[in-house]
């Protein structure tokens, strides 16, 4: 309701500058039109989410605002955890640091694990995609491994590495590699025969074929895989850190749960969601740039 009310109000406001336009010189008219269009975009893109968020907060407040509610209401979260919200980068001691620092620690792990997964996934995917037999033989295996949840890998990797840091990275690696690998393989499978013919006539070697034909041609597929992969990696880090400890954001949630600091958990959830969103957009944006180059 309120959504349509806002847009119709801004439409009501439009006629007046249009009436002035013939009297003025063209320039200010064009400028104001541009400004109006910008304002319109702002209204269209930001007002609806803000209104929806406000409504959700209100529902949340009403649902859990009673005394004795199991979860904290927004007001309680603000009262008890405002320090976490306002200053992400404080340092009061080795275990008492801002959520920004914790997020960065987690991001570093994700960065290492995801980079490894990208490199290995693209390489192996390229090889698998080149061979119809490898594709037929390995695809079902990959499809099964793909569905194993991140946490199920943790005991095995702990047993193998006997240390939490490499285990967490391995869990990220093994969770995010499958979509990258499978998508790369499909992308390579779909390289048009024409491009392969060109490469053959030129006698490109494997290395040149990989960089000059495969990567550009399969880039849209690869970036779809990377985008799914980064999402999964971010899902996995929280789960892995809950069990392996350290200073990451995942462990923070686990720690807060153990010491009954529910408002802190709520704030951490927002951090995780925001960072995951930003990561997804970054990979999507890079993919967009690469695809436009193609």
């Amino acid at each position: 309701m309120s959504l349509s009310a806002v847009t119709s109000k801004s439409e009501d406001a439009t006629p007046s500058p249009v009436k002035i336009l013939p009297l003025n010189v063209a320039r200010p008219g064009a400028g104001s039109r541009q400004f109006r269009r910008f304002g319109q975009a702002l209204v269209n893109n930001f007002v609806p989410p803000i209104i929806c968020a406000a409504i959700l907060l209100l529902i949340w407040q009403i649902a859990f605002g009673r005394a004795g509610a199991t979860l904290p209401a927004p007001t309680v979260v603000w009262k008890e955890a405002s320090d976490l919200i306002i200053d992400p980068f404080f340092r009061n001691g080795p275990q008492d640091i801002g959520l920004g620092w914790r997020t960065l620690t987690s991001l570093q792990r994700v960065g290492i694990g995801f980079s490894l997964a990208s490199a290995v996934g693209i390489l192996v995917g390229a090889i698998v995609g080149q061979s119809i037999w490898a594709m037929r033989g390995l695809d079902p295996i990959f499809q099964i491994l793909r569905t194993v949840p991140p946490l199920a890998w943790l005991p095995i990797s702990l047993a193998a590495f006997r240390d939490s840091q490499p285990s967490a990275i391995f869990v990220i690696f093994i969770t995010s590699i499958w979509p990258i690998l499978i998508n790369t393989a499909v992308g390579v499978r779909n390289i048009p025969q024409d491009y392969r013919n060109v490469a053959q006539v030129l006698r490109l070697n494997h290395f040149e074929f990989f960089w000059k034909i495969m990567m550009p041609s399969a880039a849209p597929y690869i970036f779809t895989g990377l985008r799914i992969g980064i999402g999964l990696a971010w899902l996995a880090i929280v789960a892995a850190e809950m069990l392996t400890g350290g200073v990451g954001i995942g462990f923070f949630i686990w720690d807060a749960w153990n010491s009954s600091r529910l408002p802190d958990i709520v704030v951490a959830l927002f951090y995780i969601g925001a960072v995951g969103f930003v990561l997804d957009r970054i990979v999507g944006f890079i993919g967009h740039l690469v695809a436009r180059g193609a």
Binding site: D194, Y195, N197, V198, Q200, V201, L202, R203, S217, G293
Partner: protein, 264 residues
Amino acid sequence: MSAYLKLDHICKTFRRGSVENDVLRDINLTIEKGEIVSMIGHSGCGKSTLLNLIAGLTKVTSGAVLLEDREVNAPGPERAVVFQNHSLLPWLTVYENVALAVNKVFGAQKSRGERKDWIEHNLDLVQMTHAKDRRPSEISGGMKQRVGIARALAMEPKILLLDEPFGALDALTRAHLQDSVMQIHATLKNTMIMITHDVDEAVLLSDRIVMMTNGPSATIGDVALVKLERPRHRLELVSDRDYIAAREAVLKFLYERHRFVEAA
């Protein structure tokens, strides 16, 4: 006497599972250095397949392709192909498409500057210098074919293989490109094998016209000699007796084959 290029009893059968498709049967042909040979035949008879066999992109089922008495069974830049659908890489500009070939083929022999000059020289040959920084999606069909020709020429191939290079073009652009090809041949004296559907084009450009029978199991039905002096000018040829004779021979062959198929 040993020929420059020799097609020796070539057969080609495509197999998919138990389904066999005999496309070419017993193809014999010798081509001299510097010759332009056209291949003409009804759609689907196997012209592209034969060209791919010469290029080495497809393997012969039996028989052999011999270039200077050496069997060829893999593709290589000495047999450059101008593909039926241009096959430019869409993520590279016109210049980069040619550069990919030049850098690969002459990476060792020529310096960076020489390669740049060579790329630009070949783009100039097909009059594409003005659009060298555009991508294939940003140029017309005729321009794409020209870039494809420049890319193939830039490899300095022993044999240039052209698969209906002007098939999808309007008559004017076509005539223009045919003139370019004749000019290039006059300067470089390169050997060319060209597939075409156009009888006039075949007669205008080639020294010999290879006429293929209808598939399945197509083979060479007849070879027409075109005894016309070069340089050739299309307007003067219209009333030339040799031109008319060659044209008639090809048309007769195609027409009678076609009739034959309808009767069968």
